[in-house]
């Protein structure tokens, strides 16, 4: 028996990068190729919809912005770990993507002259974040999804979760997908594939991610032999609503919001005297952590400390027109109107700079397999991503990889056929080991322990002793008897999906801890108490983590530096 489904280009994931890749593959191979979009969620449910504040691009060079400036801001923001050739490509392609979305119907905010408006974001030295209220990701997703419906050669497979990649002799040939509605594991044959499954998601308990954000793509690629790059760099967004962790966009500060501590002090003047609240996220999150550690936090009702984001200076009109979404969340879920009251916030896990190792064009070491968006690591984000660059990255590399994958198929690249033996391992695991077998330990408790462990041992500040404890805990969790699924139903068995996700979360957390332990320096979002300085002599390098049965094997590779020699970061 061969494959159940056969497509030319498979896109795994239907967020911003996935949809952008699907459209580009479909228009490159119009009338010739079938593009299948396989996604764990329904369409329009991916967490890209929750991106709020803006998408960066240089639009008006005649008014003072420049490619050079966006390149330098991004490289400096990355603490000089980004690959500078990739950043240059990114910055140059970004405006095309903004305009393409515009011509597909994106409701960008406008200036009085009818052109696309832009606003400030942290670490960007020019107001270059294009926006549509504070629902940017949502509107981008709507625009791309709706536009994808023009293409008869795009076929959606909603709630088909890819669970295992098939790679033979270094070449991609297909994957196994769990169809949630029926519980069937399908063997899908595809000549090329773009991974666009998002980052590692909810490895931390206080996080901005939706529940469906789990490291499925990272784990599948890692298991298939592709290294994970720079996984120690986890971005903590400074302002997440307490207690839910819902994102309060950086645009709130871009529009003039300020951060204050329990004493009412605008504390950022101590940490980034020039940029203040518009410093990069790593620096602001550390400042907030320090403030709370020094006793300047506010005691929340549940005993969790927080600080305040104060938007009262913006005035009602600006909040209602440019920050309507976050006002909604605050009013509805926290009972606070930011027009009248400051918002209780603290830093939350938000983004993974690392990901599946790719070259500048998003290609992995496996022929026929690309990665785009947060799941990939090109790398333009290095040790710290700038706000408003991630949605742009999804668009730029969605387009690049979608086109490359389609051209690869059009060029006649063939792969060996998918057969029964490819899916034996995953079928055995799901049907024999998991389904209908009551586990001795509750998998959801194991997940909670994992998240608590990551919060405690691999957060904004790190040191060897606690990280070693964290790694030990992860390895203990791996041995726990949680692998079982009480639910024996074939239909929409989310209990099964959750157990598979928890297994992938544990493996990915291990990669993060091992990568973080090995990086004995502080750079960007990776701040070590025991190695507080950046060490360019030994660690101006990307980490590569390869899968082995005994845990990740670490190697290093130098970043591409073309123009900007690392200097000290000041803001």
């Amino acid at each position: 028996m061969g494959a159940d489904i056969d497509v030319d280009v498979a896109i795994l994931g239907s967020g911003l990068a996935g949809l952008r890749a699907a459209i580009e593959a479909a228009r490159t191979g119009r009338d010739k190729l079938v593009v299948g979009v396989f996604t764990k969620t329904q369409v329009m449910r991916s967490h890209s919809v929750s991106a709020e504040g803006g998408t960066a691009a240089v639009l008006y060079t005649d008014e003072g912005d420049s490619f050079q400036s966006h390149i330098y801001d991004t490289v400096k923001g990355s603490d000089f770990l980004a690959d500078q050739d990739a950043v240059e490509l990114f910055v140059k392609k970004a405006p095309e993507e903004i305009l393409q979305l515009e011509r597909w119907g994106m409701p960008w905010a406008r200036r009085p002259d009818g052109k696309i408006a832009q606003r400030f974001f942290g670490g960007q030295s020019y107001p270059r974040a294009c926006f549509a209220e504070d629902k940017v990701g949502f509107f981008e997703m709507s625009t791309l999804y709706d536009t994808s419906l023009k293409y008869d050669n795009i076929v959606f497979y909603p709630e088909w979760a890819a669970v295992d990649l098939f790679v033979e002799n270094g070449k991609f040939k297909g994957f196994a997908a769990l169809e949630l509605k029926t519980g069937k594991i399908h063997k899908v044959s595809a000549k090329a594939c773009v991974l666009a499954t998002g980052g590692a998601g909810r490895l931390y308990s206080f996080a901005t991610f939706g529940y469906s954000s789990t490291p499925d793509g990272y784990y599948m690629a890692y298991k298939a032999g592709v290294p994970l790059k720079d996984m120690e760099f986890v971005q903590f967004h400074p302002t997440a609503l307490v207690p839910s962790g819902i994102l309060i966009t950086e645009a709130a500060r871009g529009e003039g919001g300020i951060l204050v501590n329990a004493k009412g002090e605008r504390f950022m003047k101590k940490y980034a005297p020039e940029k203040m609240e518009l410093g990069p996220r790593d620096i602001i999150s550390r400042a907030m952590y320090n403030e709370m550690a020094e006793g300047n936090g506010v005691e929340g009702p549940d005993g969790v400390k927080h600080l305040y984001l104060d938007l009262r200076g913006l005035g009602e009109e600006k909040i209602k027109t440019r920050l309507a979404g976050i006002r909604e969340y605050c009013m509805h879920l926290a009972g606070i109107d930011p027009i009248d009251e400051p918002i209780p916030v603290r830093p939350a896990a938000h983004y993974y700079m690392g990901g599946v190792d790719t070259n500048i064009y998003g290609a992995t070491q496996v022929a026929g397999l690309w990665a785009a968006g947060e799941v990939g690591c090109v790398s333009i984000n290095g040790a710290n991503r700038l706000g408003s660059n991630s949605t742009t990255e999804c668009l730029v590399w969605g387009a690049i990889t979608g086109k490359a994958a389609a051209e690869y198929v059009l060029a006649g690249h063939n792969h060996s056929s998918v057969n029964n033996s490819d899916s034996i391992a995953i079928e055995k695991h799901v049907y024999d080991e998991l389904l209908g077998k009551a586990p001795r330990e509750n998998p959801y408790d194991i997940r909670d322990q994992l998240q608590a462990n990551m919060e405690r041992t691999c957060h904004i500040y790190r040191e060897e002793k606690t990280m070693l404890e964290g790694l030990q805990t992860i390895r203990n969790l791996k041995q726990k008897m949680f692998r079982g699924v009480v639910d024996s139903s074939r239909y929409y068995n989310t209990n099964l999906m959750n157990v598979l996700e928890i297994e992938m979360m544990i493996e990915t957390a291990e990669v993060i801890l091992v990568s973080a332990l090995n990086r004995r320096e502080s750079r960007g979002a990776h701040a070590r108490l025991d190695y507080p300085k950046r060490d360019d002599v030994n660690f101006l390098k990307h980490t590569l983590a390869y899968y082995t049965e005994d845990g990740p094997r670490i190697e290093y590779v130098s970043p591409v530096i073309t123009e900007y020699v690392p200097t000290e970061r000041r803001y």
């Binding site: 228009r27 969620t41 329904q42 369409v43 329009m44 449910r45 991916s46 967490h47 919809v49 929750s50 405006p95 095309e96 305009l99 011509r103 597909w104 119907g105 409701p107 960008w108 406008r110 002259d113 009818g114 052109k115 696309i116 629902k135 949502f138 509107f139 709507s142 709706d146 536009t147 419906l149 023009k150 509605k181 939706g210 529940y211 469906s212 954000s213 207690p243 839910s244 819902i246 994102l247 009702p301 909604e328 969340y329 509805h332 879920l333 926290a334 009972g335 509750n442 959801y444 699924v485 009480v486 639910d487 024996s488 139903s489 074939r490 239909y491 929409y492 989310t494 209990n495 959750n498």
Partner: protein, 238 residues
């Protein structure tokens, strides 16, 4: 402040007996807790076989629409305390086939969305796809359609619609609001071609303006208004 509420949840598993029944759970609650958090407590601590569809927990992804105490609502955006009741009754969305428990099938819903051609149609297709042109738009032009672009495709309006319940050929409030959203966009050039298919049969004209769609929309979209505006255009122009 109540410390515990009763959740009465509709259960259905086609793989078991295929019968619908209610099951009751006692759920400890705290201030600010949502119905979704209550359901997750049930799934993670009491009965992992309960199937729910959910993701963003911030009323943006549109996954967790369900009937809560008789009304279509998003579970993540409904506070238990706002229901002012000791019993929370949770059922799958009306007007959608049930897959399992609280999970419903959206295939027909998304097909109807697709059928209205929800994308910009231009005469200058080459410019639209290949150029670096920016179409200009004023604030006034944006305001004409943007409220309808808030639609998160959660299906609440579709579940509330009395016409959808009886006439499957009626496109429903979601798709019709999207038809208007693109018709009203100053950048769209399809014009009357968008209206023609809507004038036939009951795809648009069956609506009798119960306006329950607009009442249940969690994003403030007013599909009833869109339908009214569309109907006016259809009658005037096609």
């Amino acid at each position: 402040m109540l410390e515990e509420v009763k959740f009465k949840v509709l259960r259905y598993d086609p793989d078991k007996d295929g019968k619908k029944r209610f099951q009751e759970f006692r759920v400890p609650i705290r201030k600010g807790m949502t119905v979704l958090q209550g359901l997750l407590h049930i799934k993670e601590k009491i009965d992992p076989t309960l199937s729910i569809r959910f993701s963003c927990r911030m009323a943006t992804c549109g996954s967790c629409g369900m009937m809560i105490n008789g009304l279509p609502r998003l579970a993540c955006y409904t506070l238990i305390e706002e229901l002012k009741t000791r019993t929370v009754v949770v059922e799958p969305l009306r007007n959608f086939p049930i897959v399992k428990d609280l999970v419903t099938d959206f295939e027909e819903f998304f097909n109807k969305h697709r059928s209205v051609k929800p994308y910009l149609i231009r005469i200058d297709t080459y410019v639209q796809e290949k150029s670096n042109t920016m179409y200009l738009q004023s604030d006034e032009e944006l305001v004409r359609y943007v409220q309808f672009a808030y639609c998160i495709k959660c299906g609440l309006c579709y579940a509330a619609c009395p016409v959808v319940a009886t006439d499957k050929t009626f496109l429903g409030p979601q798709a019709l609001a999207q038809a208007y959203r693109y018709y009203a966009d100053s950048r769209d050039e399809a014009g009357v071609d968008r209206l023609k298919p809507l004038g036939d049969g009951s795809s648009l004209l069956r609506c009798h303006f119960a306006a329950s769609c607009s009442q249940v929309c969690p994003k403030g979209v007013d599909p009833a208004l869109a339908i009214q505006l569309l109907r006016k255009e259809v009658l005037l122009r096609s």
